[in-house]
Symmetry: C2
Subunit: 357 residues, 2 copies
């Protein structure tokens, strides 16, 4: 019996990746030129699949980056005019804030403790020309209610809204007309090997980037937004991309379309529901996120304190690999990923095991 | 019969990659945490293997980047104090020059036509605090004689010397004490899927980066040199890396060590020798690089003019995939990669076929 990775990412591969990877190796996909028609067709398939899967509007482009992390640098460079507001409630939202704060641009901050969500200061919202929202804080298991995103849009319709959906897309069902950019890493919910980011950007982002880059005297990154977008218009990349992963992404998004995005989303809801229900009445295990509204369906965080290693070992003996807490929570928390590849049966087994612990 | 890719990169996978990739998928390597001991052991294996394979001195660190392209941005940011000299004789050396020229730093230029190598202006060499040398111009098949690299060092021992060895390492046998940094993409001579760069940097680079970054007001990239190096000291990366490719790199560098780097290098010399010899007396095919001293052993470029597509089709019918010329040479040249994975038998077949064409 193989191990099942419930780690928050890299996590278990999507269950069809193994077969697709074998096909890729057999057919030489990793050797094809990224300037040829075969690669363009693969890129186009990803583009078409993501539009269908996410109901992505026509004014969005699908760009590839090396990672979601790279987007922080590229967005700082091209999407922020002067002031960027950061809603910070965990390690990843804070990292983006720090990058902007270290840049020549101004970083505004509204923050809360880990496990919570800040009271939004709409005065700050109105001052910003770019607003960074982490939909799903992978470090804490807090998910931003979408009404808050939409309210921010209403309060400042001019600002570019960037959404970090690293550990929630394609589970996240968002109205793309109320945001401008969204980025994700493929090693979370998409269940692929790490080494590729996806950046969805609308035409407002392009206009902003043109404005910002036009007057820029300092270094423009080789992979800057406008350069990526110009190549993407022809299903091309600026430099040699991770072709193998892009091929795998084309395949698994096709598989997800065949399965049906509504089924994938409702299964994730089912799995998180049974798990949260079990934990609520558990004698020893406690949830980190107190407010039900804020609890992520895809990243579940337990306060396990002195039991942390015991729980991880207990599950590992059953071939179930759970994640530790992030950073400062490494020794006191356990994180469980609930991604599309995790089956109901696997999650029921995990839930049953922890119930008896 | 499978196709054999002689394209200049992505190229044929190293012949053991297929088996290693299957092992990786079976054992869940793509799902492991990049913060765990298993990943550190893989990183350490790459580090140890590269030191042995390349006779890398102890004052060098082995860093991972997303690509060689990313190194252009990161080196511009951290290795250049004020003035960078660029020896430009093809598309890739020119791209790096343009990045620096678009930055707030000064780019000095010494250039030649494609297929040739510039007369070095040692007055410019003495002015620069950073010198960028492309050891092997993938766009033209021109290889920089190492005596020129060493002469540049003698003339300006203070400058940081960065070597682009994207399409020549580990064939390249260079004295690392006479340069400071070297970068490579894994999809060329290492025969891996694209999506990973290796940056070898010595302690002089660290000192330079500390000096440059200390007084920097503008944006420092998230993956900046000092950040990468700090993590690398503990066999860690700044953000989730391409773990699968790093694992494959560990395996194929072990395979290369078992095979012996001298054997790998002498086979590449043998293959290029028979190919160049055949072309020299060929009635229709001409070499692009006229000066024998400058001819690359790993990237061979033919002037094929009106025969370009016919030759590519002729070879493709025999399941041998050759590359077109780069950029403006797309329709008039054919490029052939001679990498460690290409066997003597495959190269003899390619040579025999073209001889009769």
């Amino acid at each position: 019996m193989h191990q099942t990775f419930f780690t928050p990412g890299p996590s278990a591969l999507y269950y069809t990746v193994d077969q697709h990877a074998k096909t890729a190796l057999r057919s030489g996909i990793a050797s094809i030129s990224h300037r040829g028609t075969e690669f363009k067709a693969i890129y186009k398939q990803v583009d078409t699949n993501l539009r269908a899967l996410l109901q992505l509007p026509d004014n969005y482009s699908v760009l590839f980056t090396n990672s979601a992390t790279e987007v922080w640098d590229l967005a700082t460079e091209s999407l922020i005019q002067e002031k960027s507001l950061h809603i910070v409630n965990g390690a990843f939202s804070e990292k983006f804030y720090k990058i902007v704060n270290n840049s020549e641009k101004e970083a505004l901050l509204t923050s809360s403790e880990w496990g919570d969500f800040p009271e939004i200061d709409y005065n700050l919202v109105k001052q910003a020309d770019h607003i960074a929202i982490t939909h799903n804080e992978t470090s804490t298991g807090v998910s931003t209610p979408l009404e808050i995103v939409y309210k921010i849009r209403e309060e400042n319709p001019e600002a570019i809204i960037s959404v970090d959906a690293v550990s929630s897309l394609p589970y996240l069902d968002i109205d793309y007309s109320k945001i401008d950019a969204l980025y994700v890493s493929v090693q979370k919910c998409f269940g692929l090997p790490a080494g590729l980011g996806i950046w969805l950007v609308n035409d407002r982002c392009m206009a902003r980037a043109e404005e910002v880059q036009k007057n820029k005297k300092e270094l423009i990154s080789y992979h800057n937004l406008l350069g990526l977008a110009k190549q993407a218009a022809n299903y091309q990349t600026v430099s040699t991309p991770n072709v193998l992963n892009i091929y795998l992404l084309a395949q698994i998004t096709s598989d997800m379309l065949n399965r049906g995005i509504q089924i994938i989303r409702s299964e994730i809801k089912y799995k998180s529901a049974i798990f949260y229900k079990m934990i609520e009445t558990h004698p020893k295990l406690k949830l980190f996120v107190k407010d039900k509204i804020l609890r992520s369906d895809t990243i579940i965080v337990l306060n396990t304190e002195e039991y942390t290693q015991a729980i991880i070992n207990f599950l590992a003996n059953k071939k179930l690999i759970a994640g530790t807490g992030y950073g400062k929570m490494n020794d006191s928390q356990v994180r469980i990923a609930n991604f599309p590849t995790h089956s109901k049966e696997q999650f029921e087994m995990l839930t049953d095991l922890l119930e008896t612990w």
